[in-house]
Symmetry: C2
Subunit: 226 residues, 2 copies
């Protein structure tokens, strides 16, 4: 006795990227009704034969050309009147990419995909503004106690870039010396003995986040926190 539930299931993805000045989010311009022409989060219906997370990865690649990125479930939006087409429940995900690997800064096709600063967003389709708000909140909360911020940086980064990331996400300034001391004391970064190239000032050392070091430290009771 299984009730026939005409509830349809979709996924939406909030893709965060970081450039030199801002935390940004990837939006696509809708090519179909409803909300044709509006900016929206990439997403779509879950197919019967794929897991919900696979659906999110598929849509991310199809609609935004983004693949193999950090992706985590955000929240499921299950209110009744979310979609003019009928009852739709949406499992939202958020992704973190670095804008240098995904430099679609202007767009891919015509005007179809774009990065927007969080403080300067266009009107969005459906309840995507709400989804985005929840995602930004999650990112701000989680970045402090899980080492996910590195996903927003290139593999090799300077401590200033890392600090800038935290300042942008948390929206406050941090003390340079305290920040560097604390991060290095964690023992989860590897000093690559390389320096930045092509900068018009003293070149900074490059570091890389080491997943194995992080796991080792964590098993011994270490807790990431910034």
């Amino acid at each position: 006795m299984i009730p026939i539930t005409p509830i349809r299931l979709t996924v939406d993805c909030v893709v965060f990227g970081l450039d030199d000045t801002d935390l940004k989010v990837l939006l696509i311009r809708r090519g179909i009704e409803p909300f044709l022409g509006s900016w929206a989060l990439p997403g779509g219906f879950v197919l019967p034969a794929e897991s919900v997370e696979d659906a999110a990865r598929r849509e991310l690649e199809e609609e935004a050309g983004v693949r193999e990125v950090f992706l985590e479930q955000l929240f499921t939006f299950g209110e009744v009147e979310r979609d003019p087409r009928g009852r739709v429940v949406t499992v939202a995900y958020y992704a973190l990419v670095n804008l240098h690997d995904h430099p679609l800064t202007a767009a891919t096709d015509a005007d179809d995909v774009g990065w927007f600063a969080l403080e300067d967003l266009p009107a969005l389709a459906f309840d995507h503004d709400e989804i985005l708000r929840v995602a930004a909140e999650r990112l701000r909360g989680k970045v402090r106690y899980q080492p996910i911020g590195f996903e927003l940086l290139p593999e090799k980064f300077t401590l200033s870039q890392l600090q800038g990331l935290y300042e942008k996400v948390l929206d406050r300034t941090l003390d340079k010396r305290n920040f560097r001391r604390k991060v290095l004391a964690m023992g989860i970064l590897i000093d690559l003995d390389e320096i930045q190239q092509d900068v018009a000032h003293r070149a900074a050392r490059l570091y890389r986040f080491d997943e194995n070091l992080y796991r080792q430290r964590t098993e011994r009771g270490f807790n990431f926190e910034l």
Copy 2:
């Protein structure tokens, strides 16, 4: 062009309760196939006209007699092969109740509902052991930085009860003097100037968590943490 997705949507609830000795979880014995006779989390299909959270509350009341409790979305389980009946996606919730208000410690009907210590669980239907594992992890993580633990206690409680709650959830002992100093310093408890009744030793003072105080402190930059 909406694809017909024969994906069915359910909710499951992990209800945590605390008694004098253990952190417990509420299970029901299934009365229908599949897994007839197995213990399982309360839950069921989402109806077209209700929100997903409303469905969780409805199932909680119908199947477990639990109402008006703390309820929060946990995670959506969207793998393909979760249910022998076909493609089912489940939005899981977790609830916190205090066992004195909900003293179905043995059962309600016959043998239908029961509280089980987390360390002594029966085999569960579907992937409910996985859902429960995720829920316990979430509770352990969240109880430290959000004042949700109070939901597991009666409205009036002693500091020892509060400490016991944290010791059970976090599974470690805490120093009595340090715990009391820290909790009281937060300024979110109200000393009721009452004492415990009917105890065979010195009666302890009773306190109550004050939501308004908590909000005020939080707005001024206070962060709950234990």
